[in-house]
């Protein structure tokens, strides 16, 4: 957040604070080669799946050492070596991508499962509901994880979702689970059951995690002040900080050691990111085509 304020990260980010237990708990239940798709609020998911924090921060800062070479930024972090098929900025869009990728991997002999994260806003996207249907019809073992933080940007979930969220998944014949998303141990326990079920029964599974985001939808909202959530609601939610809940269960010595380690990793990541080179503007459209096609430039000339 400080790096956004200082404009070391341009464009801002969607903070994940308040929801950390979900990424940590779900990804702990995955194997290395299991796949994942994420959202515009994706930092936690990709970190929990194992990306190098320094390269993630370099990507947020638009540096050439970033995960995507500075071509994706905050909303598109990907690392295919870790099965991360990308964070995706379009709400509800990644469910079908995860389903297709996992179907293809298993068709080629793999035994992976996959996780597709999305928020409560996504359950109103038709493309996601279509993806539930395909995954269920074709028995693709995707764990669909809905992080219900109560708001789609500013829209309260109770004003947006008719019926219940798990019932939508259940309508496609998927086993569904619900869990308190602020408690990492509960999330892990349920996610492990869900992943095991997906793997052994070869079926999609749905998991709704009740959570709350501690900051506004996007750092930009600090300027435009669209975050109208009641102060009492926010204060009450902050009482259940998932990081504190997990930390309180640790012996003080271990907790301090972990805190120190995290601080050191973050400091090293900032150091790496901010000292990394900016990308060369001459390569702005590198990778536009995987085949290497070079299109005409702004003045119509071929490069």
């Amino acid at each position: 957040m400080r790096l956004v304020t200082e404009r070391a990260i341009v464009g801002g980010i969607h903070p994940y604070t308040g929801q950390e237990a979900i990424a940590a708990g779900v990804c702990a239940a995955l194997a290395c080669d299991d796949i994942l798709t994420s959202t515009h609020r994706g930092h936690g998911h990709v970190l929990a799946k194992g990306v190098d924090p320094a390269r993630l921060l370099a990507e947020l800062a638009g540096r050439s050492t970033g995960l995507n070479g500075g071509r994706g930024g905050s909303m598109h972090a990907a690392d295919f070596t870790l099965g991360i098929y990308g964070a995706n900025a379009i709400v509800g869009a990644a469910g079908a991508i995860a389903t297709g990728a996992l179907w293809a991997l298993r068709r080629q002999g793999g035994d992976q499962v996959g996780v597709s994260f999305f928020g409560d806003g996504a359950v109103n996207e038709g493309a996601l509901l279509e993806a539930f249907n395909l995954a269920a019809l074709w028995r693709v073992p995707v764990l669909f994880v809905c992080e219900n933080n109560g708001y789609a940007t500013t829209m309260p979930v109770e004003s947006a979702v008719a019926g219940s969220i798990p019932a939508r998944a259940a309508a496609f014949g998927m086993p569904t689970f619900q869990v308190d998303g602020q408690d990492v141990e509960l999330v892990y326990e349920v996610a492990e059951r869900a992943v095991t079920l997906a793997r052994t029964e070869v079926t999609p599974v749905f998991l709704e995690c009740a959570t709350y985001r501690f900051d506004a939808h996007h750092t930009f909202e600090r300027l435009v002040r669209t975050d109208q959530r009641p102060a009492a609601e926010l204060a009450s939610a902050r009482q259940r900080d998932p990081v504190r809940i997990a930390g309180d269960r640790l012996p003080a010595v271990d907790r301090a050691a972990i805190d120190d380690e995290v601080e050191a990793v973050l400091a090293a990541a900032v150091e790496f990111a901010l000292n990394s080179p900016h990308p060369d503007p001459a390569g702005a459209l590198d990778h536009l085509y995987a085949s290497g096609l070079k299109p005409r430039l702004r003045d119509g000339r071929q490069r």
């Binding site: 994706g72 098929y85 079908a96 993806a131 536009l288």
Partner: protein, 323 residues
Amino acid sequence: MTVLSYRKALNRALADELAADPSVFVLGEDVRAAATHVTAGLSGRFGDDRVIDAPLSEQAFTSFATGAAMAGLRPVLEFAIPSLLFLVFEQIVNHAHKFSLMTGGQTRVPVTYLFSGSGSRTGWAGQHSDQPYSLLAHVGVKTVVPATPADAYGLLRSAIADDDPVAVFAPAGVLSLHTDEDFAALAPVPLGSALVRRCGTDVTVVAVGHLVHEALAVAEELAGRVSVEVFDPRTLHPFDWDGLLESVRRTRRLVVLDDSNRSCGIGAEIVTSVVEQVRLLAAPRRVSRPDGAVLPFAQELDRVVQPDRALLVTAIDEVMEEQ
């Protein structure tokens, strides 16, 4: 020589790619029953796990294919109706097309989108008769519009083998076309390579898709009076600009025959790109659909909205008269 129909050429290209590469599969609505005839026999020959019927969930199965492509397969999606592009524009443009760049080259999305019957199909009215190839060329998705059975075969094979998303528009106006072909000579046609269908010296007529045949007929009709060169771009993006400039530098007159709506259609790009680089003897002309056209149902209404031979003759006469 053996007679080859355009539909059969597409079918043969699919069969040859399915046979050559186990990572290729066909996915779409009613593809096992082959509602368009383009996938006829493929399910029986290659099995239901290579030719897969999808429920009516175009958005999901389009992104499903994107995921499958990133995971190592080469999906071919068939859309029987060109306007379905509007439904999956987001999935193609905002996802499949962008992932190579946005991931910094970590992935590739080799999906082929086959539109089996684009443009007017006579009597199918507004929602089945669009010719939306310019939209994909504009956003940068590789886009081909084969005019002949041999090109349908060759461009579809190249599309499937390409490492990027490629849209193949098979105009309804040529689906039933039959030509004599030496089957042994059928081969992949590289993307981005145009073909001069008829050599001429007075005017270059760029014609897209089924309109190539209209242009050839007009060129024959005018032979002796005007020497018309018929230029078939075959691929709209990436366009063979070098090939077109070579032609126009010789003829120094240009007419474009394009089934797009006029404003922002590919014809506009063709005219602009030429006049930016070549001083022509006469102002270029475009024959297209009207601005923002919707094809009306009744046949006589449908026809007056489409480009036709009479308009092309007039356009050619105009560029020949102007000095």
